[in-house]
Each structure stands twice: as C-alpha cells, then as structure tokens.
C-alpha cells in the first residue's frame, strides 16, 4: 500500500521519464518520430506479403486483420524484451539516487503504451481510408482491452527487468521467447484454425483473448464478449502482483549488482 502511495508521489518522475523516452528515442535520426510508425508498417508489409501473397489465405483485407493484432502485440513484446533492460539502462540513476525503483518499468511500459496509442491513429486512418468501416459502440470497449493488456505487460516487465539485473542472459532469452510467443498467439492466423486439442494451451495464454478482442472490435466490427477477457484480466492482475512482489524483493540489491 505504501508502495502505491509513494509511486503516486513520484508521478511527475514517471511523466518526465515517459516524455524523455518518447522524445529521446529517435533523437538524431533523420526521420525522427516517424520511426514510431515506419517500424510497424514495414513489419506489416512483410507479414502481409508472406502470409497473404505467398502462403495464401482467404481472409479478406488480411493487412487490416493483421494490423489490428500486430500493433498491440508489438506493445506487449517490446514491454517485456526491451523492458527487461530498462533497469540496467538506467543504472546511473539507480546507483546514485533514491526513488521507488518501480518507476522505471512503469514508465518504460507506459511509453510503449503511448507509442501503441499513436499507432492506433494510423490504424484508424487505414480503416477510414480503405472504407472498412467502424462500429463506434464496439470501439468504446477498446480502453478496457487496453487496460487489461497494460496490466499484464506491466507485470511481465517488472519480472523481466528485475531478474535481468541479476541474470543478464534473460534479455536475450526473452528475445527468443517473445518470437515463439508471437506465433503461439493468433496474430498472423485465426484461432479458428487451431486444432482442437491445442486449444486449452491457447486459452491459457492471456494474449490470446486480448488479441482476439482487439480483432473483434476493429476487424469484425462487433462488440467483443468481454467475459473472455476475464481470465486474461485475472492472470494480468496475478502477474502484476507477483511481479511487484518479486521486484520489491530483488530491488534491494540493485545498486550493488549494477
């Protein structure tokens, strides 16, 4: 409880770290902030070519089908992979000055989250330009889906960032894990093509219902069955609490380990 109050007191620091991260990320590059959009767009193009032109599938507007799932996925995967190194990259601060250490993963995940929100502008632009159409009532459920994803991502980022301080390999291991995780989540394909016997595993993955919900809202233009999010939300909260507890335990020796 006192941790939450303290984090609230340090909200300005979270804001300023997020701002610094967003502004500083592409500093010095010619295209600057545009990279926020270019990166996912190129991934989108590559995946679209591979999965709809080469491997062929009959999903109409496959690019949109993929796009609305890919952007939330990029938020999640960068939260855990790049987020893993977030404490290490701020080691000058950690070694020299006191502040609640959770500020670092929180602000990192938040800045990834803001990036995702900005990309959603592009998603909406694509939807409008291509005339795919929007269900405004369904869009109102988007914030709930996003919050569930944010909680889950934050919990995972706390775990990965704290453990990486002691065990640096984790950063690289997570790179592989996140690639496998992406293909085990219905992003480039639909859950309906998954063989029945594997379905329980897919349902355990909190990212499955999260991604499905995004797709229902933005691609199928329907109000998602939010109850499918319940397990994801419960797992998200579990990981957040677990992550926070582990983080609190491990953070005591950050200054010595870095």
């Amino acid at each position: 409880m006192s941790t939450i109050k303290e984090l609230y007191d340090y909200r300005q620091m979270i804001f300023s770290l997020v701002k610094k991260d967003l502004r500083g990320r592409y500093k010095g590059s010619v295209l600057g902030f545009l990279w926020t959009f270019i990166n996912p767009l190129f991934q989108l193009i590559v995946y679209t070519i591979v999965f709809s032109k080469i491997l062929r599938n009959d999903v109409p507007r496959y690019y949109l089908y993929l796009f609305v799932a890919l952007i939330p996925w990029i938020f999640f995967s960068s939260s855990i992979t790049v987020g893993a190194a977030s404490i290490i990259s701020q080691k000058d601060l950690v070694k020299k000055i006191y502040f609640p250490r959770m500020v670092i993963p929180i602000s990192y995940v938040t800045s990834c989250f803001v990036n995702m929100l900005l990309c959603f502008i592009v998603i909406f632009a694509v939807i409008i330009v291509t005339g795919a159409g929007i269900n405004f009532v369904a869009v109102l459920t988007l914030p709930i889906i996003m919050i569930v994803e944010y909680i889950f991502a934050l919990g995972m980022a706390m775990l990965s960032s704290a453990v990486t301080v002691y065990f640096r390999d984790l950063e690289h291991i997570l790179g592989i894990v996140s690639m496998a995780w992406m293909y085990l989540t219905p992003i480039v394909y639909s859950k309906s093509i998954v063989p029945e016997k594997y379905l329980p595993i897919f349902n355990l993955n909190p990212m499955t219902p999260i991604i499905e919900c995004y797709r229902t809202v933005l691609y199928d233009k329907q109000i998602p069955d939010l109850s499918t999010l319940l397990i994801a939300a419960a797992l998200g909260v579990f990981f957040l609490i677990f992550g926070a507890l582990v983080f609190n335990k491990l953070q005591k020796h950050f200054a010595e380990e870095l």
């Binding site: 000055i97 640096r168 005591k252 020796h253 200054a255």
Partner: protein, 411 residues
C-alpha cells in the same frame, strides 16, 4: 515535544559487500563454473546505531573505507542493510549525486523539472519553486539553453540549486561545497544554515572537518564499521585528527624505511649543493613531548633535529632553515646569522636542534630546506627539501599562516 522528535533512527545496522573474485553473470558461466564464482565477504558496517533528532545536523567522519559513505547510502535507501533497521521521517533529499538524470540536450529549465521529479516533487511543487531555483543558481540568462552548453561550474550550480530547494525534511550531503567558485560556496553554506534553522535534519559526510565544525551539532566518528566516538564536533574532530596524525606518521616512517637507501646520491642532484666540507646527515621532526612525527596540528611546537657530519672544519658556520609550501612559495626562512647567534666553528660531527614555536602554518604539506653555509653565504651543504612536514588544521581560515585575531564589535 516536537523538539525531541527523532528524525533518523539507525539500529544495529550491518552491511557487507560481496567482492566477487571472478563473477559470471551469464548462464553459461553460472553453470560451467559454479565453483568459480567465489566471493569474499567484506564487512563494511559491523553494527552501528545512532539517532538524529529533528533539526539536528550531524557529521560523519572517518578515514577512507571506514563505512561512512556506506552509511549515507543506506540512509538514502540506495542500498539496504543486511540486518538492523533504519527509520527516516519525512522527505529525504540528497546532495550525493548532483544532477542525476540531467539530459544534456534539454534546457536548464526542462532539466529542473526532470531532476526535481527524481526527488519526488510534483509539477505543481516544482512550478512553485522554479523561480527560487533559477534565482539561486544565478543562471537566469542561460536557463533556456541546453545544459550541454553549460560550464561544469554552471552545471553544478544548477544541480545544487535544485537539490537544496526540494524542501526536504532530511538532507543528506556527501562531500559538497566543492561547488562553483568561492562566492557560490559561501552562498551554499549560508543556505544550508538557513535550511537547518528551519528545522531540516542534516547529515554530512566530509573530509573537511572545518565544514563539519561550522554546521554540525555532533560528529560521529566511524572506524572500521563501528562508531568509535561521538560528541561535539570540536572534541571528536580533534580526537580523530590525533589518530590520523599518528597513523600518517606510521605510514611515513614505513615509506621512509623503504626508500632510505636510494635517497642518498642520485635523488639529491639538483636538490643539494655546496663545498661538502660538512654534510647534513639526517633531519627529523619531533612534537613538544618528544615523539618523532611529521604531522602537526596548527599552533603546535615543532622541534627539528639536524644531524651533520664534518669532513673539514668550517669556521664562521651558519645554519639556516627555510619553509616552503608545495607551490614553492617561501613561507618562512631564517638562519643563525639573522638570529644573531654568536659566530661558531663546527669541527666534528654533531647535532643541532631548532625549536619552532607555535607554528601557525595552515593545513597542508610543507618542504623544509636546511643549509649549512660559511661566512657571507658560501654554501657548504645546501639541502633543498631535506624534510617534509604535514600541517593539520580543522578551521576554514585561508592563506599561508594564521594571524591570531579577535573580533570586537563596538555597538
């Protein structure tokens, strides 16, 4: 009673560091060389306890590696103790790492916000302090320029201004006041006094005992992870200085013993000249009570003992002594002729004692030149830097030597 409120409570705190002899942080290394990640445990703090009352200022003193900086780091909660408890009441600000989180490309103003946010201030609170911070830093004209264009002095001034305007309840300071020029230092010092008067609790770690004596109500001397003594700074600091002076003495002796042989001929070229009829054999310094030492506190008597050998008698001999600081500035010099010692002849080996009374040289290292001359300044053996002494002064007065003085206000 608010006056006796405890702001900092430290109880039986211990801390040790693992010093890895060969640390493997990677999976491969951890698995393959499990036995190799041996480490030594170095106990830095062996159980210290103290209280600091609200509004009190204490100074932590001790030689390098005694654990005083570790104590301060534990107080800031950068690190946590292995056992024992530390309780702090109120907002803590530290002047340990000035300018943490400064971003060179952002303007001074933006950096004020970032830096103050790290101390846990909200935007509103920073807005309220912004003018004070800028005014205190004396950087109003540059505040919208990127920090990378600042000189290091300007940088430190800005950082100090932020840290000191946080309005902390507890202020932790590590070796400060090396900030900026003399004017700004004085300003910082005054600000610290002001803050203390407002009821802020202050903990200072410093090698400058003068600073501690000026601000602190109490000194705590930490020695090898334990509190060796605590009390009024004037007393504790002297005790500490005494100890340090003895210790340095031992070190110097050890160094001398090691280098005695080489020092005879080669090293003396350019440092020594004269006819060689007589030669200075060795120079030693003693304190008033007769113990050989080379570190002295300001105001002490110093006895120099010069042994010499004679090859050929020197008539009309003159002995001289000169005191130089490390910049080569002569601080004092005299000889037996100036002092009107009756003429004498040295014809066999002997010893001369020079008693320097109440030496008021300020803290620092001084070289002594010793010379034997003949008649009107013909050098027999002029020995530059024949001996070295160390002066220790806890006061903050400046210059070469202290002029005894009093202040008297006619009102």
């Amino acid at each position: 009673m608010a006056e006796n409120e405890i702001a900092i409570e430290v109880r039986d705190v211990t801390k040790s560091f693992k010093v890895y002899l060969d640390k493997g942080a990677q999976l491969k290394e951890r698995l393959l060389f499990r036995k190799r990640s041996k480490y030594e445990e170095r106990k830095v703090l062996r159980g210290i306890s103290f209280d600091v009352k609200k509004g009190e200022a204490i100074g932590l003193i001790g030689h390098n590696g005694c654990g005083k900086s570790t104590t301060l780091k534990l107080l800031t909660r950068i690190m946590y103790p292995d056992s024992g408890t530390i309780k702090l009441k109120g907002r803590v600000s530290s002047l340990i790492e000035l300018g943490a989180g400064f971003h060179p490309d952002m303007s001074g103003r933006e950096n004020i916000y970032t830096n103050a946010a790290i101390f846990g201030l909200t935007k509103k609170e920073i807005d309220a302090r912004l003018d004070d911070i800028i005014e205190f830093s004396e950087l109003a004209d540059f505040i919208d320029n990127p920090v990378r264009t600042y000189s290091s002095g300007m940088y430190m001034r800005l950082a100090f201004s932020v840290a000191i305007n946080v309005d902390a309840d507890i202020l932790l300071i590590d070796e400060i006041l090396a900030v900026g020029d003399a004017n700004f230092q004085a300003k910082c010092f005054n600000k610290l006094r002001e803050i203390k008067a407002q009821g802020t609790t202050i903990v200072i770690v410093s090698h400058s005992l003068g600073q501690i004596e000026q601000i602190c109500d109490r000194s705590i001397w930490i020695h090898e992870g334990l509190i060796k003594a605590e009390g009024p700074p004037k007393e504790i600091d002297l005790e500490y200085l005494d100890y340090m002076s003895r210790k340095r003495q031992e070190l110097m002796k050890a160094a001398e013993a090691g280098s005695e042989k080489e020092e005879t001929d080669e090293n003396e070229q350019g440092k020594r000249w004269g006819s060689g009829q007589a030669r200075i054999k060795r120079v030693r310094s003693f304190s008033a009570d007769g113990t050989e030492q080379s570190a002295f506190r300001i105001g002490e008597d110093i006895k120099l003992v010069v042994d010499y050998t004679v090859k050929k008698p020197v008539d009309d001999a003159v002995f001289g002594v000169g005191v130089f600081d490390l910049n080569g500035i002569q601080c004092y010099g005299t000889n037996t002729r100036i002092d009107k010692v009756p003429d004498f002849v040295i014809d066999k080996d002997g010893t001369v004692e020079i008693l320097l009374k109440k030496v008021m040289l300020l803290g620092g290292t001084y070289n002594l030149d010793i010379a034997i001359e003949q008649g009107e300044g013909i050098p027999v053996d002029y020995y530059r830097q024949a001996h070295k002494i160390e002066m220790i002064s806890a006061e903050g007065d400046a210059g070469v030597f202290r002029i005894e003085h009093t202040w008297d206000f006619q009102r």
